[in-house]
Amino acid sequence: MRTVILRSSDGADHIVSSEAASLSRTVQSLLEELEAKEGEESPLIVPLPNVCDCTLRKVLQYCIQHTEPGTNLTGRIHVSETRRRDLEVWDRNYMLVSTDELYHLVMAAHYLNVPGLLELCCEGIANLIRGKSPQHVRQHFGLVNNFEKAEEEDIRRTNLWALVDEKELAKK
């Protein structure tokens, strides 16, 4: 199998199979361009200036896991039931990251255009928001309550129904 080298923003190289790298549509199209330019023989080096080393490492974990034998490239055909369930469990564990890591991961997934990973991250973010009070969400995501006094009053009024159970949520 062909291998390619992905170079992160801090210059570290990662060697992966072209199959795993092609889960990223961005890399896939870059690879096609490179192949056309430099021919089949020379080593393919893809520079990724927008992704730092530790995020790239994390992304590649996902790509490798999701291209292991048994998974077709399209990810749909021939996936056995057990394999699918294993992957789900793996994905769940994979998502146990800090909010900070999650931010870099979702931005990388968006930049590299890895559809499966992007969805997984967004589900992760949604999980952090679902059923949480605004206060909670602010803490989690390191946001500042920068509303004007009048604006906040307006929110409280129109969103009463959404904030009713806030105290209950805060207890949890």
Binding site: T99, D100, L118, C122, E123, A126, G131, P134, R138, L143
Partner: protein
């Protein structure tokens, strides 16, 4: 901490899709950046679950609301009144058997900014009050039961709506002797689709004929009612409709009394027609007339025609030759024309630009004619050969397989189609785009054919295998690889429920045999 304030809109959109309105509303009170983002992404909200609607009312700036659900009650609709800024409202009741009452008048007293209303499968009370929605431009009522005041007719209630351009009540029913009385007062109408089982008569035609802005007119009558009241629109009605010389599209399907003379009248006066639908119900009621070559030859003077639909007509050589002269024709239907044989059909080979062709129920048409037509019509997108059961089979499929743009193929009851034909269809260029395949009642198709479909027709969204009794669990299971499949009809096959994995069943809507009584209402 990451810069969550500046997270990309693309990402936020995917996150929002996964939240319920309550969470969305809370997101708006997190920070001003998130508030702005949520608001800009949330101009439209699609509500899928009933429990969300009371909560959606917190997002009062919504201007479009889609609401489709299985169990509407009067209570679930109540909170809608808080969404005062709605401009477009779509309500669809998915449990057709339990319609809920919806008062348009009540709606009108709250949502005065509405521009567009779509209501599907409700009991709709058309009462006064709706005229308070002054900006209303389009009103769609599909498959609704209309309740209106005695002898009044619902257009009377709508007269205050000066902006109303579009009125449709497709498939609606109701009890009233003259439901469309006073429709002449809706002067701003441009599109008027009254395709339903409500009583239509020559009087209705006379009323409608005074609407000078209407360019699209539908007066179709469902097959069921068509059999009961066969001669609802006769030559007299058509004559009054012919005053509307601005008409571009006319649908008179379901009216058995349309004759050659009526068609000649249409051809003489409605010179700018582009779409004409004159399909008839299958019944031998006393007032029924037969359309023959004379009428069809008259049509050839309407050179702008793009779509012609006829059924139960006595089409022969002369008729087909006349149709072949309509060079703008893109869509042609000649369904259930029993007398139509190969020689006349081959005249149609001049129509090389056709994108839609239906020869359903033309049992005398053979593989030879189908092959000849398909070879010269590379642009075909929809092809219907249902019930051509005597002479159309695998050989036609060899030719059909070469059509690169084909999206819809209906072969229902073509008993001569077998696995061999399906295999060649799946191997040809047609496999790339095919989205809708109906092989119901093709009894020679077995698991092998189903497996071919499952592995090749990647774009398939609708598949009917009803009454293909040789298709079993193995065949159905092989279909689970189709990524876009939404509707799978399996009634009458040998498949058991075990063959359908839970995950597959969740994604795909499995349907039982259909009720074919009001067929053209459902199809279009």
């Amino acid at each position: 901490m990451g810069e969550w304030d500046t997270v990309l809109d693309d990402i936020m959109e995917v996150v929002l899709e996964r939240l319920n309105p309550q969470d969305m509303a809370r997101m708006r009170s997190v920070s001003s950046a998130w508030r702005a983002k949520t608001d800009s992404l949330l101009t439209t909200l699609q509500l899928r679950h009933a429990q969300y609607i009371p909560e959606a009312t917190g997002i009062t700036h919504l201007d479009v609301c889609f609401y489709a659900h299985h169990s509407f009650t009067a209570g679930t609709l109540q909170p809608l009144q808080h969404l005062r800024r709605l401009r477009k409202l779509v309500l669809e009741n998915k449990a057709r058997a339990q319609p809920t009452l919806l008062g348009l008048g009540h709606l009108g007293s709250q949502q005065t900014l509405l521009v567009e209303i779509h209501v599907k499968a409700f009991i709709v009370a058309v009462d006064s009050g709706i005229d308070r929605i002054r900006a209303l431009r389009s009103l769609h009522l599909a498959s609704c039961i209309l309740m209106m005041g005695k002898g009044q007719g619902f257009p009377a209630i709508l007269t205050g709506l000066r902006q109303l351009r579009y009125l449709a009540c497709k498939g609606c029913s109701g009890l009233n002797s003259r439901p469309f009385a006073r429709i002449a007062s809706l002067l701003s109408l441009e599109t008027c689709l009254l395709n339903c089982s409500l009583r239509m008569s020559d009087d209705t035609c006379a009323d409608i004929a005074s609407l000078t802005q209407v360019r699209t007119l539908g007066l179709a009558c469902s097959a069921l009612e068509g059999c009961l009241t066969p001669a609802c629109i006769t030559y007299v009605g058509v004559q009054s409709l012919c005053r509307m010389t601005q008409l571009a599209s006319l649908d008179l399907s379901g009216h058995a009394a349309i004759s050659d003379a009526s068609i000649a009248e249409i051809a003489r006066h409605l010179t700018v027609l582009t779409h004409l639908d004159l399909r008839k119900p299958a019944c031998d009621s006393p007032g029924a007339e037969i359309v023959g070559d004379d009428g069809i030859v008259a049509l050839s003077s309407l050179t702008l025609l793009e779509s012609v639909r006829l059924s139960q007509a006595q089409v022969g050589q002369r008729g087909c030759a006349a149709l072949a002269l309509l060079r703008r024709l893109r869509c042609l239907e000649l369904s259930y024309c029993d007398s139509l044989s190969d020689t006349p059909v081959c005249e149609l080979t001049l129509l090389s630009h056709l994108s839609e062709l239906s020869l359903a129920g033309c049992a005398s048409v053979t593989d030879i004619a189908v092959t000849a037509l398909v070879r010269v019509m590379p642009a075909l997108v929809r092809l219907d050969l249902s019930a051509c059961h005597l002479h159309v089979g695998d050989i036609s499929l060899y030719a059909i397989a070469t059509l690169p743009k084909l999206q819809m193929l209906r072969l229902h009851s073509c008993e001569r189609v077998s696995d061999v034909g399906i295999k060649s269809l799946c191997a040809g260029a047609a496999a790339a785009a095919l989205m809708h395949l109906d092989v119901r009642g093709c009894e020679r198709i077995s698991d092998t054919g189903a497996a071919c479909i499952g592995s090749s027709l990647q774009q398939l969204q609708y598949l009917s295998l009803e009454h293909c009794h040789l298709v079993g669990d193995r065949g159905i299971r092989s279909l689970s690889a189709l990524p876009h499949l939404e509707v799978l009809r399996v009634g009458g096959t040998a498949a058991t429920t075990d063959s359908i994995a839970a995950e597959f069943a969740q994604r795909v809507r499995l349907e039982s045999p259909s009720n074919g009584r009001i067929w053209w209402m459902l199809e279009s």
